[in-house]
């Protein structure tokens, strides 16, 4: 038997714009949310891979003293609290880096390249960077200490701002769907005021009438948001396909795909349930006054 509705809600003008708005909002919300997860995951693994926080540059001196200076610097670094690891960048690595930058190194006087020491810090213990720099300058005034943490922190802040922005957008998009629901229900209440009066007169409780809205909005919400999420999934799939084709080298972790899958499957249910409760609340409030 066809599911009977005691209010003619399906024929509303108000009913027509709601699925479009909800579908669109769920589409945008899904993509926004997945992007947030992507940035979050990418940052997390970038932070893990980030091993060089500080670099120390020792100028190339006459060969004997240079090696001893390097040894003394390493010794100092290993004693300094707050340092997890300190290691000289192998000379060959520097050469290949240079080769890739300027082409050939044949005309260059390679031994005059400075020695670079990459320093990784630990998070458990703070480091007194000024004190360290003073000690290094004491050993040789030409030693340079380059602290990368400032720009790294800036990049992280930027990324975090992006995450905050996209999650806020996701919430705003959901909110838009809910506000649209509220307006649709309010409009319906006005349109059907006459019928609602009759229902009241034959003994219907506000609860009964609100349930009509609730069921109707739940159905509408489910259809619209499922379509929205399906389209978002196709878009996501398309973007992944494109990225792979243009040789984007970022290694996506399996957890990211699990998260994305959850977003696409849960979004329709969450959205339509929220819509349902909003519809119920709006209807009950509107009927009471």
């Amino acid at each position: 038997m066809k599911n009977r509705q005691d209010l003619p809600l399906t024929h509303d003008i108000a009913a027509r714009f709601l699925p479009i708005i909800v579908g669109l909002m769920v589409y945008l919300g899904c993509l926004c949310c997945v992007f947030t997860f992507f940035v979050f995951d990418a940052t997390h693994s970038w932070k893990k891979q980030l091993t060089t926080h500080v670099t120390i540059e020792i100028p190339r001196l006459p060969s004997e003293s240079s090696d001893t200076l390097q040894a003394r610097v390493l010794q100092l670094l290993n004693k300094t609290p707050g340092i997890r690891q300190a290691a000289a960048v192998p000379q060959r690595e520097l050469e290949s880096l240079l080769t890739s930058l300027v082409g050939t190194t044949s005309s260059m006087d390679l031994p005059s390249l400075p020695v670079l020491i990459d320093v990784a810090l630990t998070e458990e213990e703070p480091i007194d960077i000024e004190n360290l720099e003073a000690h290094l300058k004491n050993m040789d005034a030409q030693i340079q200490l380059m602290d990368h943490r400032a720009w790294q922190a800036q990049v992280l802040t930027l990324i975090q701002a992006t995450i905050v922005l996209t999650s806020t957008l996701t919430l705003l998009v959901l909110l838009t769907a809910l506000i649209a629901t509220k307006f649709a229900v309010r409009t319906s209440l006005l349109i059907h005021r006459h019928v609602i009066d009759i229902l009241h007169l034959i003994g219907a409780t506000d609860e009964y009438i609100a349930r009509q809205f609730q069921i109707h909005i739940l159905k509408q919400g489910l259809v619209a948001s499922t379509l929205g999420a399906a389209l978002a999934f196709l878009t996501f799939w398309g973007i992944m396909f494109l990225l792979e084709n243009i040789g984007f080298s970022f290694a996506f972790k399996a957890t990211f795909f699990v998260q994305a899958f959850c977003v696409f499957t849960l979004a329709p249910f969450m959205t339509s349930f929220f819509m349902m409760f909003f519809a119920r609340h709006t209807a009950l409030k509107g009927l009471y006054t």
């Binding site: 009977r4 005691d6 024929h11 009759i198 007169l201 034959i202 003994g203 219907a204 409780t205 009471y288």
Partner: protein
């Protein structure tokens, strides 16, 4: 519960932009009684019924229904008071987007009765009022008399404690009018208190029931077994 279904005490009503229709009306409706509410057109029959089905607030005076004061009740409790009523509206108030059978079963569904069972009850009743051919049509295509019978079926399908009918025979010929009167009397015998607003003299003469006569803003109650005038 009190022995009175309805008690009106010095009730009056004045439409905001209209006439004062009652000054000080005081009367009781005993449980199980059957009244005709009569008076010339525009006297206030519909308005009085409206007050009884809680569609119109008295401007002054007090009203009790089933021993309770609806004006002092929480709005959320009013539906439960209305669920004890069956109302045949003068303008029917059928829902055009529902089929006849769904219109008639609606009061049952509203009271929480399962849809299939509600439909069965509605069908029986519609057969009884002679509308077995019209179960699955929409009310808009029915004649005035047919709509009236649908409205009556909807009002009595719940076996209400109090039936209020506003000119329920206004659109049917005398033969059907008498059949409907018989239906109301049957219902009354089963315990439903009935108030019928009518100016159908024929109906009034055929029935021994007492009258509520609206006259110059008050109501005169006659006793049963009156002599027909």
């Amino acid at each position: 519960m009190s022995d009175f279904i309805a008690q009106l005490n010095d009730v009056g009503h004045q439409y905001e932009e209209g006439p004062e229709i009652f000054k000080k009306v005081t009367f009781d409706i005993e449980s199980g009684s059957f009244y005709f509410l009569t008076g010339p057109s525009g006297a206030g029959k519909s308005s009085l019924l409206k007050m009884l089905y809680l569609g119109l607030k008295p401007t002054w005076g007090s009203l009790r229904l089933f021993g309770e004061d609806p004006l002092k009740m929480k709005p959320s409790s009013l539906p439960f008071l209305r669920q004890k009523l069956g109302v045949v509206f003068q303008e029917f108030k059928l829902l055009d987007y529902l089929k006849v059978i769904d219109n008639v079963s609606l009061p049952l569904r509203v009271r929480g009765i399962e849809a299939r069972q509600a439909r069965k009850h509605a069908e029986e009743l519609l057969n009884w009022v002679g509308l077995s051919d019209a179960l699955n049509v929409y009310p808009s295509i029915l004649s005035g008399g047919q709509k009236q019978r649908v409205a009556i079926a909807r009002a009595i399908v719940t076996r209400p404690q109090l039936l209020l009918a506003d000119e329920p025979t206004g659109n049917v010929d005398d033969e059907i009018a008498l059949k409907l009167l018989h239906l109301f009397e049957e219902l009354n015998k089963m315990g439903t208190t009935v108030i019928i607003a009518t100016h159908n003299q024929n109906l009034l003469e055929k029935s021994p029931n007492p009258l509520l006569i609206i006259k110059e803003g008050t109501i005169i109650k006659t006793s049963p077994q009156r002599k027909s005038s």
